[in-house]
């Protein structure tokens, strides 16, 4: 890395830039540059330098990298994954190099997800004077932070549509995330979270008797990065729907229940289908059995594992008579088309509910 001070960045992904910032600054002792929130410019930049047919998460990531470099980053990190994502790092590194950016690229897909020590090896490339003890303790705090963020996120999703005074929950949520940036220890995280959980529970909400429940399933990036799914959760919640989402880092990585998923969906799926498809089918089936009013499936255009899951979802939809709305996003999605389909979906589940 030469004499330059190391300034690390990782693509935007939900609110996880906060725990990442903690891990890199406290654990690895380097500066962390949070890429600016994704905007249309991010996507346009990313799309301009990406192959047209690559999925939109690739384009967003690339846009985030360029905007992070503009903000001063000189070391970029990419993760591995169980789909094409596993190959993205190398291609993005090459594209950035061709564009003339002189940056250091750390590709975590070289690490082995079953062996945490291999991550340590990758981290050492960022800071050779790394202390294993420090990394381990920050990692523990960071993981706690992820769990807490996900827990609060669930609460927000299920209540934001019912506030008596609009905007209160979002304001508290933002405050909570900001105060997480000041923590030093795991205890701090727990204390702040407890405090905000109480504050959030005290927000006046008015839920109708006949609550409408909608579950969101789908591909890893698109489901978790609100800008990439056109803020679909917020759009639906604002119509007075309780939104459920299982897919987050806590459930998919920290406490994965893969065996249970496989067992639950056995009547529909015999073999492992890759990436997020198993979880998509698992939650759709569970929520169908629980009598949810509808399911929304989101993915980036061309996401193969999720395309494979769709025929199974159609079977579940027929068997349990649960409506499923499918969305495929890319860099050219029309806002009007999304609005029309969401409105129609809302009308449909509401009229079904009234009829029952």
């Amino acid at each position: 890395m030469g004499m330059d001070k190391c300034k690390v960045a990782f693509p935007r992904f939900g609110n996880y830039h906060i725990p990442l910032e903690f891990l890199f600054t406290k654990g690895l002792g380097v500066e962390y540059i949070t890429p600016p929130p994704s905007t249309r410019r991010t996507l346009e930049l990313g799309a301009k330098y990406s192959p047209d047919y690559v999925c939109s998460p690739f384009k967003f990531n690339l846009g985030n990298y360029i905007e992070a470099i503009e903000a001063g980053a000189n070391t970029l990190v990419q993760t591995g994954g169980t789909c094409r994502l596993g190959y993205y790092g190398e291609l993005q590194e090459q594209i950035l190099k061709d564009l003339g950016y002189n940056v250091h690229f750390i590709n975590m897909s070289r690490a082995n997800y079953n062996n945490p020590l291999t991550f340590y090896d990758e981290f050492k490339k960022i800071n050779p004077n790394l202390s294993l003890k420090k990394v381990t303790s920050s990692l523990i705090t960071m993981l706690k932070m992820v769990e807490c963020i996900d827990e609060i996120d669930d609460f927000v999703r299920q209540n934001v549509g019912f506030e008596v005074h609009e905007g209160e929950i979002e304001k508290l949520h933002e405050e909570y995330l900001n105060s997480l940036r000041t923590v030093e220890t795991k205890k701090d995280v727990e204390k702040i979270t407890k405090n905000y959980k109480k504050k959030l529970k005290d927000v006046k909400v008015k839920k109708p008797k006949n609550l409408m429940k909608v579950g969101i399933v789908g591909e890893y990036y698109t489901i978790m990065e609100p800008f990439s799914n056109h803020f679909i959760e917020k759009e639906l919640a604002k119509k007075g729907i309780v939104i459920y989402r299982w897919m987050n880092v806590t459930n998919s990585i920290l406490h994965n229940n893969g065996k249970e998923q496989k067992k639950t969906i056995k009547p529909y799926v015999k073999y492992y289908m890759g990436a997020t498809s198993m979880a998509t089918i698992y939650k759709t089936l569970e929520w169908a059995k629980e009598g949810f009013d509808g399911i929304v499936h989101v993915k980036s255009f061309g996401c193969t594992p999720e395309i494979d899951a769709m025929p199974v979802l159609q079977r579940i939809s027929n068997d349990y008579k649960i409506p499923i709305l499918y969305f495929s996003f890319d860099s050219q999605t029309s806002e009007t088309g999304i609005q029309t389909r969401l409105e129609a979906f809302y009308d449909m589940i509401m009229m079904r509910k009234e009829k029952r």
Binding site: R40, R41, Y326, Q339, E343, A344, D347, M351
Partner: protein, 318 residues
């Protein structure tokens, strides 16, 4: 004075309007081309509707809009209901055919399938990627063949041996059509083949994975093409109903919704003499650069939209 309700369906290609009474009876209806100018099309539509019903007996008390320009026209006419075309079509059709199970709808630029159970929508889909299964594809091919699109259906029925036309994508369908014409296929066979191709494309893209159960109602501009209707009957193995007002279902549906809304504002045809215009501005307050549309009536702004956050909101001076 008796109450009446106006429904307007402003599509990409055509603009439709109906006026109904309290019993959903159609008092006036009109269908004309949008010609890329929805505001002007609606003015023409209103002028035509105005002459068709008894203004001394009926007063329009509520207006609904649907179709892709529903928001713009909703602001223009002061609509009490602005509804997406899927719901509007379902409401319109079920008011006439309460037992319908499947609605096939092919319009100028989009196509959809709506599945109904006990009078309510249980599933739907809309085309997302390709225009091959739509009306604009048929009219551009009609032009290529030198035939009026209105004649398409009748000509198709005279064919004994429809030509097979690759229907996966508009561009390929077009080049396949040219190829088949150049090697000597008869015009009526090609036209019948095109009607079949539209149906194949529709069933593969829009209807995929959906169970098409009778009674089936086919509507939208393309339903006027008897060749396509016949092709649907052959493909599904069921009778396909086409209502004489099959092109007006969206307008009828949204008129019924305006009635059900109970929101009443006396509507005046005077707005045809007012000047309406829109200005699009690109918001510069953040990197999202939202395109904000401002609607003006006689140079006074009456509405604006398109901003994704509060920063881009443009206050309306009252």
């Amino acid at each position: 004075m008796k109450k009446a309700y106006l429904g307007i369906d402003i599509g990409s290609i055509s603009t439709k309007g109906v006026i109904i009474d309290e019993n959903n009876k159609i008092l006036a209806s009109e269908y004309l081309w949008t010609e890329g100018n929805p505001i002007d099309a609606v003015k023409r539509l209103l002028k035509a509707l105005e002459t068709q019903f008894k203004k001394k007996t009926y007063q329009i008390v509520s207006v609904g809009t649907t179709g892709s320009a529903r928001k713009l026209i909703g602001a223009m006419v002061g609509a009490s209901v602005v509804k997406n075309e899927i719901t509007a079509h379902a409401i319109g059709t079920t008011s006439l055919y309460p037992d319908v199970r499947t609605i096939l709808e092919i319009g100028g630029q989009d196509s959809k399938i709506i599945l109904i159970e006990d009078g309510i929508v249980v599933d739907y889909a809309m085309n997302t990627l390709c225009a091959a299964g739509t009306g604009s594809f048929l009219s551009s091919q009609a032009k290529r063949l030198g035939v009026e699109v209105e004649e398409f259906g009748k000509i198709a029925l005279t064919s004994k041996n429809p030509t097979n036309i690759a229907a996966r994508c508009t561009v390929f369908a077009e080049s396949d059509l040219v190829h088949k014409a150049q090697i000597g296929h008869k015009k009526e066979d090609i036209i019948a083949g095109l009607c079949k191709a539209v149906v194949t494309n529709y069933l593969n893209n829009v209807g995929k994975g959906k169970k098409i159960l009778p009674p089936i109602v086919f509507q939208g501009g393309v339903s006027k093409n008897i060749g396509v209707t016949k092709a649907f009957e052959e493909a599904t193995g069921h009778d396909v109903i086409v209502d004489p007002n099959s092109h007006l279902m969206g307008a009828l549906g949204v008129a019924i919704l305006a009635k059900k809304s109970k929101v009443e504002n006396e509507f005046s045809f005077d707005i045809t003499d007012m000047e309406f215009s829109t200005i699009g501005i690109e918001c510069q307050k953040c990197a999202n650069h939202c395109e904000i549309i401002c609607v003006y009536r006689d140079k006074k702004m009456i509405d604006s939209w398109g901003n994704r956050c509060e920063n881009g909101a443009i206050p309306i001076k009252k």
